[in-house]
Amino acid sequence: MEASVSAAVNVSILAMSVIFTVLVILIFTIKALVKLIPYEAPPPARKVSSSRPPGQDDQVAAITATLAAHMGKRPDEFRIINIQSR
């Protein structure tokens, strides 16, 4: 029993070292990346994680058009900011 526990301790120390080594390498990789490619104002059209944006556009357009048509105002007098579909 004792032998196996000491083996487990050995394995643990070793494994934690490996984990820290791997993640420290990863940290430096990330730091290098971030330094090499600094943040710039993002392309405004790219909304990466939005699902089915066309549908959204259509919905916004439809609601806008309805409101505009109904109230006799021009659609560009008001704006629907967002209908988040998820």
Partner: protein
């Protein structure tokens, strides 16, 4: 065949499950109901525990052929997806599609918190060995402390398939208990001043970096720990779908219907492995106790390392975000937020805690990779035949017939 009334009636009576219902089955049916109860009324990871509990229910109806070991049964087919390590990587692809690594990239040093929280894995490993488990079993049990269901299932199916059921149950149950387990430990280990530390706003990250990150992680981590490639690689592929901006269709599928389908199959299969034989044993109790230990030590490890980082950074890092390093995304990060806000309602730690939180996912995958390097046999391809034998049968009957002929010739 005769179909007299009495013989038929007797056949029906004998084919009811009551005739072979044993006390173990009844206990397991109760366990199944308990899991379903916890899923629905206590909201314990319901997406997994509900189908898992239902799978357990089905598997423990005698003669229903729904246990994971019933060759040719429905859930046995789904179980092949676990045995061959197909389903957990697919889940991880969905997780990747759902995960925003932005906060981690904005503050990469928090990866260390994701590493520190793995101490729970190893305290548990030692404890498990002490309780008599062998090294492979102890590794699979220890990874419960990683607080990642798919990682636990992946590793258990590889190193200790006979312990899959209790390990999966423990992993998901304790993950749900994060809001109960963590706060007392966090408060115990931190001072009020530490909990009040406000962190600087995260700096924005270029989309290009977000796109390159998954490739970088795959190359760096998988080259060092190739065993974890199916898990970590698929996580990163899912994230690639998300961040690339050119695969919106695949991203949507990966994060919705594909992960949902795989979750149903995986959870049913895990549940089907919860039979009386495999679950009602002393080991299960030990694993459940060790799982609690794992989570507590993981939390403590994260918080203590957070305190160290707080010191080294001159008080810029709030140690409460350390506990999020256990993963359990996004619950653990919310716990950090809540404990922080309890002390100072104007303190918003959520986004800061998301860094160590997603780092914990990578950390546990790396920990699993280390175990696979140490205890996984590289030539696991050879296992496939044995693994498929239950479905496709073995050629042995024919073999034996021939062997009999050979015997006959001998004489």
């Amino acid at each position: 065949m005769e179909f007299s009334f009495s013989s038929s009636a007797s056949k029906i009576v004998h084919s009811t499950a009551f005739t072979s219902l044993e006390s173990g089955d009844i206990i397991m049916l109760a366990v199944a109901c308990l899991l379903i109860y916890l899923a629905i009324w206590k909201k314990f990871e319901p997406l997994l525990l509900l189908p898992m509990g239902f799978g357990c229910l089905l598997a423990n109806i005698p003669m229903s052929m729904m246990a994971s070991t019933d060759t040719g049964g429905l859930l046995n087919f789904f179980y092949q997806g676990i045995k061959h390590e197909i389903l957990p990587p697919l889940i991880f692809m969905g997780v990747g599609a759902l995960t925003d690594f932005g906060p981690l990239l904005a503050n990469p040093i928090t990866l260390l918190l994701g590493a520190a929280a793995q101490i729970g894995v190893y305290m548990t490993l030692i404890g498990a060995v002490y309780l008599g488990f062998n090294m492979q079993e102890a590794s699979a049990i220890g990874i419960i402390g990683g607080a990642d269901g798919p990682t636990s299932i992946f590793l258990a199916s590889k190193l200790a398939p006979h312990l899959l059921a209790p390990i999966a149950v423990a992993a998901y149950s304790y993950m749900s208990l994060v809001p109960l387990i963590q706060p007392p430990i966090m408060k115990l280990l931190t001072t009020e001043e530490e909990r009040k530390i406000k962190m600087e706003q995260l700096k924005p990250i270029s989309q290009t970096v977000k796109i390159i990150f998954p490739v970088a992680v795959t190359i760096v981590c998988c080259l060092m720990l190739p065993g974890v490639t199916p898990l970590l690689g698929m996580l990163m592929l899912g994230n690639m779908f998300r961040e690339s901006g050119v695969t919106a269709r695949l991203h949507e599928t990966a994060e919705t219907h594909l992960i949902n389908i795989v979750t149903i199959l995986l959870a049913l299969a895990v549940g089907s492995s919860m039979t009386a034989d495999s679950f009602l044993r002393l080991e299960t109790l030990k694993i459940i106790a060790l799982g609690l230990l794992a989570f507590s030590f993981a939390t403590a490890g994260g918080v203590i390392f957070g305190k160290i980082m707080c010191k080294l950074s001159g008080g810029k890092i709030n140690p409460l975000i350390g506990s999020a390093g256990v993963s359990a995304v996004p619950m653990a990060a919310r716990v950090s937020q809540k404990v922080g806000a309890d002390t100072d309602p104007s303190n918003f730690l959520l986004m800061h805690a998301m860094g160590p939180n997603v780092a914990g996912v990578i950390g546990s995958a790396v920990a699993a990779g280390v175990f696979l390097s140490l205890f996984g046999d590289a030539g696991s391809g050879i296992d496939t035949h044995a693994a498929l034998a239950p479905i496709i049968g073995t050629p042995e009957p024919g073999m034996q017939a021939l062997a009999t002929i050979v015997e006959a010739i001998k004489k």
